[in-house]
């Protein structure tokens, strides 16, 4: 439980961080909250030679609406997401998720950017980002880039971020009226990674027809998974119990869980099915309010 030797570098600005990364090369890792990286280092699963601490970079922690977008700075902590009045009022899906992520002391340090950039399908924020149709903003040697969420997750701990890139901001289409989201995960005990989790975001028009829908799944595939087949069934339709039932079944079918200590594959498929239905209903209820 003691990490191998490493060198610690503190970056005060984005520019400085990127320059450090360029100088130190591939053996350097960025660290923000550190709550994914440090446990891996303590178990010696990860042995980076250099840690570039980006947690103190100013101006990367914010939650604001600009134009049609909700913008969240990458260094915004989970706790800040939990207590932000605008998110509480208009994006309750964040409260649902953060409340189920780890424990308060981890949430005080863990950042939304780190949670996404880690590229772990067991983390909770990736499913939210998929459901909310987020765009990831990153900065690297070549300047700023904007990555649609569907292109972001590449594999187990692998993302579209290239060496030296820092995830700086998350952009989410601003919530419209008649829209609602919800997240839930089944966990074995408090603070556990999800046995399975489901994020849903729905936008209805004035007649209750589904204009936009996003469904993201947690920890039932190697890569954070969007339930596209389920979304297609609902998009452009009035959502009925029958349709919800159908999407639940599809979620159970399309998920790619493996049997492990969290349960058998069949159990997990069943959980995805059930939670998908429940989250669709909860999101609908919020959208109709």
């Amino acid at each position: 439980m003691i990490p191998a030797n490493f060198n610690y570098h503190k970056a005060n600005t984005l520019k400085e961080a990127i320059a450090l990364s360029q100088e130190l090369g591939e053996e350097a890792k960025y660290m923000s909250g550190g709550h994914s990286l440090l446990p891996m280092m303590k178990l010696r699963f990860a042995t980076p030679e250099h840690i570039i601490d980006i947690s103190k970079i100013k101006g990367l922690s914010y939650i604001k609406e600009e134009g049609n977008l909700l913008k969240i700075g990458a260094l915004t902590t989970q706790t800040e997401l939990e207590h932000n009045p605008n998110l509480k009022e208009n994006y309750p899906i964040f409260g649902d998720a953060v409340w189920l992520t780890a424990d308060p002391s981890v949430r005080n340090c863990g950042t939304i950017g780190g949670n996404i950039a880690h590229g772990d399908a067991a983390n909770d924020q990736p499913a939210l980002m998929l459901a909310l149709r987020a765009t990831i903003i990153a900065e690297g040697v070549d300047g700023k880039k904007s990555i649609p969420i569907d292109d972001f997750f590449h594999g187990f701990y692998m993302t579209a971020l290239e060496p030296g890139d820092i995830l700086t901001e998350i952009q989410i289409p601003k919530t419209k009226k008649n829209s609602g989201g919800a997240y839930h995960k089944v966990e074995r005990k408090v603070g556990d990674y999800a046995t399975a989790g489901v994020a849903v975001h729905i936008e209805l028009d004035d007649d209750g027809v589904c204009q936009e829908i996003g469904i993201g799944l947690t920890n039932v595939s190697a890569v954070p998974m969007r339930l596209e087949r389920g979304e297609e069934i609902l998009r452009g339709k009035k959502i009925t119990d029958e349709l919800i039932e159908q999407v639940g079944v599809i979620a159970g079918e399309d998920a790619e869980p493996e049997s492990d200590l969290r349960g058998s594959e069949a159990y997990k498929r069943s959980i995805v099915n059930t939670i998908t239905k429940r989250m669709l209903n909860k999101a609908l209820e919020r959208a109709r309010k």
């Binding site: 439980m1 003691i2 089944v186 074995r188 408090v190 603070g191 556990d192 349960g263 069949a266």
Partner: protein
Amino acid sequence: MFKCKTSPEVGGMGHSVKRKEDARFLHGKGKFTDDVKLPGMLHMVIVRSPYAYAKILSINKEKALAIDGVLAVITGEDLAQYNLHWMPTLLSDSQMVLPTDTVMHQSQEVCAVIATDRYIAVDGAEAVDVQYEPMKALVDPYKALDKDAPLLRPDKEGQKDNHIYHWERGERAKTDAAIAAADVVVKERIYLPRIHVASIETCGVVASYDKDTEKMLIYLTSQAPHAIRTILALVAGHVGLSEEKIRIIAPDIGGGFGGKVPVYPGYVIAIAASFLIGKPVKWIEDRSENLVNGFARDYHMDCELAATKDGKIQAFKVSTLADHGYTDSSANPSKYPTGMFSICTGSYDYEHAFAELDAVYTNKAPGGVAYRCSFRVTEAVHAIERMVDKLAAEIGKDPAQLRFENFIKKEQFPYASPLGWSYDSGDYKQTLEKAMDMIGYADYKKEQAEKRAQGKLMGIGICTFTEVVGAGPSKDFDILGIKMFDSAEIRVHPTGKALARFGTKSQGQGHETTYAQILAEELGIPYTDIEIDEGDTDTAPYGLGTYASRSTPTAGAAAAIAARKLRDKGKKIAAHLLEVSEEDIEWEVGKYFVKGAPEKSKTIQDVAFAAYTNFPEGMEPGFEATHYYDPPNLTFPNGAYICVVEVEEETGAIDVKRFVAIDDCGNIINPMIVEGQIHGGLTQGIAPAMYEGIVYDDEGNVLNGTLMDYLVPTAVESPHWETGHTITPSPHHPLGAKGVAESPTVGAPPAIANAIIDALYPLGIKHLDIPITPDKVWDAIQVAKAKA
């Protein structure tokens, strides 16, 4: 009800005074083994085996020794030069300190790195190159006795197979006959898996050998420092460690629960290293190491319960296969290799019982380490309480009613159980009635009927257990021949304040308060004026330590009797001071007075002062007393626990709606401390019932070796515990008290299991082994549905 004899200021029995030790613990000022820092102290880290069963081909120390600050890499070969590479276990088995050729379980100690700081030692451990030749591990205990099973312990003379021992109690033939003739027989194979102790503080040692004085000072996370000192003297006498030269200090301990009773190889290596190097050596387990050592349970129990068709129990039989891993490291009394398992006949009155057990070797960590189980009472109670519920379900009788009809009656005590115990006291009917009243049993039965009619799954589970704690009477109980008495030594100072020392060792139970309250009760000295000291073998009287809920039954009794000796001496002094004859002196808490003239009196403080300043001619000065208490019997606390659950069929999710625990531990010394022990124990009861259990794969790898996957429940998982008590004093304990701390760990798992299985019964599910997790429930529901 118990009536307090002392004022709250004196704080004798029955007062919920705050714990004296909490000020330092709550301020983070406890002094634990890892807080010990000695000049020149070195640090040790252990290299452990990735394989469950493998030959060691080579251990290359070179790279490790090349690291600046690494001083030594100690291997089994090194220890073999001093014949310290093996050590005996408490039950005449043997355990490797470090292997010379073969590793027998995953995470076994392979060698140890000594360095100038812990970080360097960890790097050194990483740099040691060990080459293994893995062998096919024996993981399933049922295969251990197969003809083609590998012989795991060829090192043991005469060992022809993997069978360790056979044990039995009771009458096999009569029990079999009763079962054969019975109207109803219910059978079940019940498994209690291995679980971790998972105390907040891991195990550790600081060993400091002084070559000049030849004294070995050892700070140790030990529940039984005196016994460990004797064992060390026996094991290491040949290298010159003599018992008077060994001083063990057990500082504050952050939870023991049985896991800090054994001698771990890490202790011995650190002690040997300090002896050889002549410098202090510290070894503190990290969390991962703690989670791969020290396992409890692992009993596979084939149970048969026979009864008449209307539910009168006639006979109980249980045949157990015990998986002891590669060595039997049980810390049981020597005549009780299976601990108190023969309490398995439970709280019920019937004639015939038979229990047998076969212990086998497998490629797992040393088995039999206790976990808050009162020496295997957890296993015994789980067996009988599951079977009683199964019988009730089988014949369609309310499980509470079935219990009432079979309970040992109040007037039957002392009750001779069919497997040889003499239960001291109890009023099982009253205890269960109180639990049923408190939870509203009848209303829940009604609600359950309604819910079942709607297709909802709701269950009510009962456990009415009898515990057996306070080992034990010298005629039957010893560890390595040392009888299981315990001790108290009281010194009252001239100013009337006191110091009392004990052979036990608190690990969080609150001895500094409880013992002070016992002395306050007996002497009338305020509990705040009494300092309690334990754990230092140079100063404390000899005792067998704290485990299996034995401290109040043994050392608590010793305290009371030592105090009474002091009171007798005090009477003589009081008579001298008041110038009357001893016969004319009477005692009431805290003072002596002249019979018929209560205004003529001397306080215990006056008497203490006189014992040093103005004692009668010919009297030995001083005001001290010591007692070594050899209990005439064990104490038999009991309890009635009722649990109500709802299960969601779609997800298998289990919601514990209510949990009522009524305990009877006789007279209560500090009700708040007892309630705290019950709360902790209930949480440690829901743990194996719903969350915890070591999972092995076919290669003997532990699959849940971190707290991420080994699910220790938190406050969030714990239901609201509702507690209460009945009081049936122990007739033989000087204070009428019984042990209590393990009752909830023993009683909660079957109550929860019974409730969940009761909820699932309409689906045709008649048994599930613990831990009963949502995915296990969901899987069982699918199987049941497929059958239906």
